[in-house]
Amino acid sequence: MQMAQPGTRPVFAPWSDPAEKPLIQFRNVTKKFGDFVAIDNITVDIFRREFFALLGPSGCGKTTLMRMLAGFEAPTSGTILLDGVDIAPVPPNKRPVNMMFQSYALFPHLSVWDNIAFGLRRSDMPKEQIPARVEEMLRLVRLEKFAKRRPHQISGGQRQRVALARSLAKAPKLLLLDEPLGALDKKLRQDTQFELMDIQEKTGTTFVIVTHDQEEAMTVASRVAVMDHGKMIQIDTPDRIYETPNSVYVADFIGDVNIIEGTVADVAGGKVSISWAEGQPALIGTAPEGIAKGARVHYAIRPEKVAIATQPPSDRANVIEGTVHDIAYLGNISTYKVELPGGRMMKAQVANDRRIARRDITWDDKVWLSFTDTAGIVLLK
């Protein structure tokens, strides 16, 4: 299915260019810890200058995948290629890969300056060039004034930037970030996300980030891989992950969603009608490939794509009647939890473009929810 929004499509899309050579190739990589399968036969390509996010709940294998790239774990089977070369026999200290640790792992006995210079001193960089490179890194993360401090003498946000500077100092081909913003508070995290993107663009390094925060992955990444139980469920750009999830798992994991289970009543002219509750009109949606009459499907629709009105609208493909059960006021938006006949709940999200005093919908009101036939997505699994 193609989304009709050419204006927002990023120009940077090496994954859709067959001539582009990937920087990293996972080929049927499996990793087992005893009987536990941490990574289950993953094949994926990551390209130069990409900001690739591994997203999933804890224990989904995303950290294991990253540690295999860093060299701290070896795959049980399959190969990992970096620039076309199998990296399995290369120890961590010989890989052109650097990692920013979740705990930052700054050396407490060394100053900020020495922390950043640590990797450079182990490299073949001439000694007299090291100070210039460290200064450059300090400028990049805006920590020039803190060079002489020890890690315990600076704030959490500054420590995070030191860790970033240290891992970027050797100009690695690939930078791995393990939950880099996990220890920061929300406001600082949002600021740092943009800073990360900025730095990634400036340095042109390929970034692979591990996170369990879907918002973070969506914000920073050029592509997101949603993982579960050692498998990559979907690998796509953030907008496509959000708009066209390939499964209920992805739809549910990313953002807020209404999921309605039903049976295909009819398929005709690229449209599908799904009967989902007795006495309710069938939902009309865009038919995915390979759908057949009688199949059990899930219809997923984002709350912000559901309109709420006190009068039945006439121009929408899908209209459902209900009563307002609950209203969550979040300042900029409000989420209405609407009870449909039969007890099912459906969420609609509306931007608060009017003052709350002038809101014309309140608890227990009779309302009509409506959405177009292209607003949601029909999922087969």
């Binding site: 701290f72 792992a105 315990h152 050797k170």
Partner: protein, 298 residues
């Protein structure tokens, strides 16, 4: 200040007064007295019934003669220096033995650590004296070690270890090993494993990651362990008198001889006071190291 706080502050001071300051004053007083054939074997003795004049006479009887005697007789100076040397060497030896053990313990899997810790502490369940005695059975000419080495054919005649300086070193290293292992282990155990991974990630080999990250971060533990071994080893008496020969001159042994064989309490007390003054330097340094550690952890 309320009573509770006063009580809380006074308790340690009362403890110090009762068990440190008063005994020290008594020892100091004896050190300033003169040897006498009497009971107790020194003069003057303080007689409270003699009143003010008695006190004056008592004070005029005190002098620093014993301390000047310690400085003039080469025996004591040599004994102090030799004690310092033995304590220093055995501290270094203990460190060399303890560090790999502590490192191994910290590297062991989580479930093994309590067992290993137990094994380190286990010797404390037996009397110190008995444990030192048992080394005679190991080190003597007919001891287990010599018998074993003769049996394997490595040596043809028994090694003379017993009653030598080496036996003293072995005894001190063995006896004080746990005091060195435990602080080093504590420092290594709380070391964040990701620091080593970060060092390797930044280009360190396993060996250089150890020297650049693990070892520097364990230094506070090493310092604490060294003091915990050095301080008691300096005044050690049991080990040199049981395992050492006549050539092993340690101040603890001199003190014992002076006190029990010579029955010269004033000189023995002076020896003890000087030993204490020598020990104050490392004790203060040890305290400062601990203090710095506490501050760094905050």
């Amino acid at each position: 200040m309320n009573l509770r706080r006063l009580l809380l502050i006074l308790t340690p001071y009362a403890w110090l007064l009762l068990f440190f300051l008063i005994p020290f004053v008594i020892v100091m007083k004896i050190a300033l007295s003169d040897y006498a054939i009497s009971i107790p074997p020194y003069t003057p003795t303080f007689d409270i019934s003699a009143g003010w004049d008695g006190l004056k006479e008592f004070l005029s009887g005190l002098d620093v003669e014993n301390f000047t005697f310690l400085a003039t007789d080469a025996l004591y100076v040599t004994a102090y220096l030799s004690s310092l040397k033995i304590a220093l060497i055995s501290t270094v030896l203990t460190l060399l033995v303890a560090y790999p053990i502590a490192y191994g313990m910290a590297q062991a899997s989580e479930e093994w650590r309590p067992t290993l810790m137990m094994l380190v502490i286990l010797p404390f369940w037996t009397s110190f004296l008995i444990r030192v005695y048992s080394w005679i059975g190991i080190l003597s000419n007919e001891g287990f070690l010599n018998q074993f080495l003769l049996w394997t054919g490595i040596i043809n005649e028994p090694l003379a270890i017993m009653n030598t300086q080496n036996a003293v070193y072995i005894g001190i290293v063995y006896s004080y090993l746990p005091f060195m292992i435990l602080p080093i282990y504590a420092a290594l155990e709380k070391l964040d494993g990701s620091l080593i991974e970060a060092a390797e990630d930044l280009g360190c080999s396993k060996a250089s990651a150890f020297w650049l990250v693990t070892f520097p971060l364990s230094i506070p533990g090493v310092i604490a362990g060294c003091f915990l071994v050095f301080i008691p080893a300096l005044g050690e008496f049991v080990i040199p008198s049981l395992l050492g020969g006549s050539d092993t001159l340690m101040i603890g042994k001199v003190l014992y001889e002076e006190f029990f064989s010579n029955r010269d309490w004033p000189v023995a007390s002076a020896v003890a006071v000087v030993l204490l003054l020598i020990l104050i330097v490392p004790i203060v340094l040890f305290q400062r190291n601990e203090q710095k550690q506490r501050e760094a952890n905050q």
